[in-house]
């Protein structure tokens, strides 16, 4: 090793080499992050303050800064408010179903001493289906004329329903409830298995001690199960709020791509899609970006609030 400068140890040279190899290994992933993740984030913000205008003299379209025009345009769009109302409705319903149901199913499964593996596979099976398959099947079941669900209602001597096609936008509309049922069926497996794993981590001694004190089942759930799984519960609650507010495919497929009678299940992400690709061409990319920024801020508020609350507790 000559040329390292007399008595100087090889350290800087090694460090350079180490950094060089380090970046060699990093470069692929960093480039992908930069192009497909970091740059679009910045671009989303910039785009939401830009607009395309047409030069009056030459007729050539150009991009320019328009301040808050995109935002005021979407705030004046009645569909914007409908979409937010629907998304909030979906989130609330999906939390009642998609958050509470898996928890109680997990508690029930944890009590059973038999057929555990079978039931676990069963609950997770729908998660593996391609979502389009599951939703096309559900939209077949929901069909008012020849669907299976109306037949079941008919058989039980209950009034039949229009399901997703039910008009009207009252809070907890039947249409949105139908979307939530399909969504819960498709997605509950993941949450159930995570809860189940959390329940199995609860030390058995806690229950034994409670039994010595003569605690009922309900009190055991209330004072041992829920406190012991609180961390997982609160984390999944937050993740689910963020995930359900991005609901898209359920509404999109159950209403065959929006339009028509879809106003009562239109979601925010569906509106982003429609602004950008369906309404009137390229100029609306900027409105879509503005709506994306609004959605991001709302979701960031939820995540921030979650972090704040959990920091207070610990």
């Amino acid at each position: 090793m000559s040329g390292t400068g007399g008595r100087r140890p090889g350290f800087p040279r090694q460090a350079i080499k180490r950094n060089f190899t380090g970046y060699g290994f990093l470069i692929g992933a960093v480039l992908c992050f930069a192009i497909f993740s970091w740059y679009p984030m910045v671009r989303e913000f910039l785009m939401s303050f830009q607009g395309r205008k047409i030069d009056a003299s030459t007729g050539v379209p150009y991009t320019t800064w328009v301040g808050f025009q995109n935002y005021s345009r979407i705030f004046h769009d009645p569909t914007f408010w409908t979409a937010w109302r629907n998304t909030a409705e979906f989130t609330v319903l999906a939390l009642i179903f998609g958050f509470a149901v898996p928890f109680f199913v997990a508690i029930l499964l944890n009590e059973l001493r038999h057929a555990k593996g079978y039931l676990r596979v069963l609950v997770y099976l729908p998660v593996m289906l391609p979502p389009a398959s599951a939703l096309l099947l559900f939209s077949y079941f929901y069909d008012p004329a020849y669907g299976l669900f109306n037949e079941v209602l008919h058989w039980l001597h209950l009034p039949t329903s229009q399901w997703v096609l039910t008009p009207g936008t009252g809070f907890f509309s039947i249409a949105m409830l139908s979307v939530v049922i399909a969504s819960t069926w498709m997605n509950m497996g993941g949450a159930t298995l995570i809860y189940l794993a959390a329940l199995q981590n609860i030390p058995g001694e806690l229950y034994e001690a409670a039994e010595l004190d003569g605690a009922t089942i309900w009190r055991k759930i209330r004072h041992i199960t829920i406190p012991q799984t609180k961390l997982i519960l609160s984390m999944l609650l937050m993740l689910q709020i963020v995930a359900t507010m991005q609901m898209f495919i359920e509404s999109f497929i159950l209403t065959s791509g929006g339009g028509g009678n879809s106003d009562n299940v239109e979601s925010v992400v569906m509106l982003i899609y429609q602004y950008a690709f369906e309404l009137s061409g390229a100029s609306n990319f900027n409105s879509a970006a503005a709506l994306g920024v609004v959605l991001m801020l709302v979701l960031a508020t939820f995540s921030g609030g979650y972090l704040y609350i959990t920091r207070e507790r610990t």
Binding site: R18, N19, T21, G22, F25, L26, G28, A29, V30, C32, F33, F36, S37, Y39, P40, M41, R43, M47, I107, E111, L112, L119, R120, L122, Y124, L125, P126, L129, P130, A132, S133, L136, L137, F138, Y140, F141, Y146, L148, W185, L193, I194, A197, L199, G204, Y207, E211, I217, L236, M245, Q246, S256, I272, F277, A288, G292, L295, M296, L299, A300, S303
Partner: protein
């Protein structure tokens, strides 16, 4: 034969005993002793049967209709009231759906995208996580933090600028719409993969790698010969979830791969796009065919998928 069956039976009993001993530690709300007492035992049996029956109806029931309704004729599929089983079995519905909905091409596309994304993610994300964990270049921590920050931004929010970026890459102006790279490359930017892999690599003792380095192994050789063989479980998790992720994704392939002839869509998007113009029984048959590969995949990797889920879910 008799000895074989008795030995099988004792093996099963032993397994049951081991399981029962395990259940003493990780017990539920109700103790085993209480469950074995007279009347509770009967109640337990009733609840168990009810749960199994209801769960089977709720989760297998729709799947039964998914596969059996694809055997109906178009008339029977939209007859009212609906039939519970196909009165006239038409296997031709499946073959018609295969050609009309182009299931073969869609299947080939999806496999190509999913396997490619899996390879790209494994190569780039493993290399990056290894660099961040063991080689630790300058600013590595900042890069890692910036990657984790992307987890905070929900994917659906960024589709518009991502779409525009893929339509024309910055600086080089490549047009990626309709190419497989439009799915492969963005899938690499998966911070959760990097996080899982880095956490696993962090747990590999540095001495092991130092020993390899003293023997003259290059970082690449160390990665290939030592790190990757140890990390097989976590690589399995990343591979399975990247594969399933591409298979289940909808919005992104809908944006970047639609409107090409011959179709470049994935199964998930393709059967939806054609569902509007196809008769009901073909739609259901195509949906059933789209579901078969993932169901088989699940039955094969069931254990890994479910343990990987909790590995990812219990993070933090």
């Amino acid at each position: 034969m008799a000895s074989l069956s008795t030995s099988l039976r004792t093996a099963r009993q032993q397994r049951r005993q081991v399981r029962a001993q395990g259940a003493v530690q990780a017990r539920g709300l109700i103790s085993n002793a209480q469950l074995n007492r007279g009347s509770s035992r009967i109640i337990y049996r009733i609840v168990l049967t009810a749960v199994i029956v209801i769960a089977t109806l709720v989760f297998i029931g729709p799947l039964y209709f998914l596969f059996s309704d694809g055997l109906k004729s178009t008339q029977e599929a939209i007859s009212s009231p609906p039939t519970i089983y196909p009165h006239h079995v038409h296997f031709s519905t499946y073959t018609k759906a295969w050609s009309f909905m182009q299931v073969g091409i869609l299947l080939k596309n999806t496999l190509y995208y999913a396997i490619g994304a899996l390879l790209f993610q494994l190569v780039f994300d493993v290399a990056a996580a290894y660099a961040l964990s063991k080689l630790r270049p300058v600013l590595g921590n900042i890069i890692f933090a910036m990657m984790l920050a992307t987890l905070m931004i929900p994917a659906a929010v960024l589709v518009v600028p991502q779409y525009l970026t893929v339509a024309s890459l910055p600086i080089v102006n490549f047009h990626l719409l309709g190419t497989p790279e439009a799915i492969w490359l963005p899938s690499v930017a998966n911070a959760f993969n990097i996080f899982l892999l880095k956490r696993f690599f962090d747990s590999i003792p540095g001495d092991l790698l130092a020993a390899a380095a003293i023997d003259g192994a290059s970082p690449l050789r160390t990665l290939w010969k030592i790190v990757i063989p140890i990390s097989r479980p976590i690589l399995g998790v990343v591979a399975i979830f990247s594969f399933v992720g591409v298979w289940k994704d909808f919005l992104w392939p809908l944006l970047v791969e639609s409107n090409f002839t011959p179709t470049r869509e994935t199964l998930n998007v393709g059967i939806y796009e054609l569902s509007g113009s196809a008769p009901q029984n073909l739609v259901i048959a195509a949906s059933a065919m789209a579901a078969i590969p993932t169901l088989i995949f699940f039955l094969f990797f069931q254990r890994n998928i479910m343990s990987g889920l909790t590995a990812g879910g219990l993070r933090g």
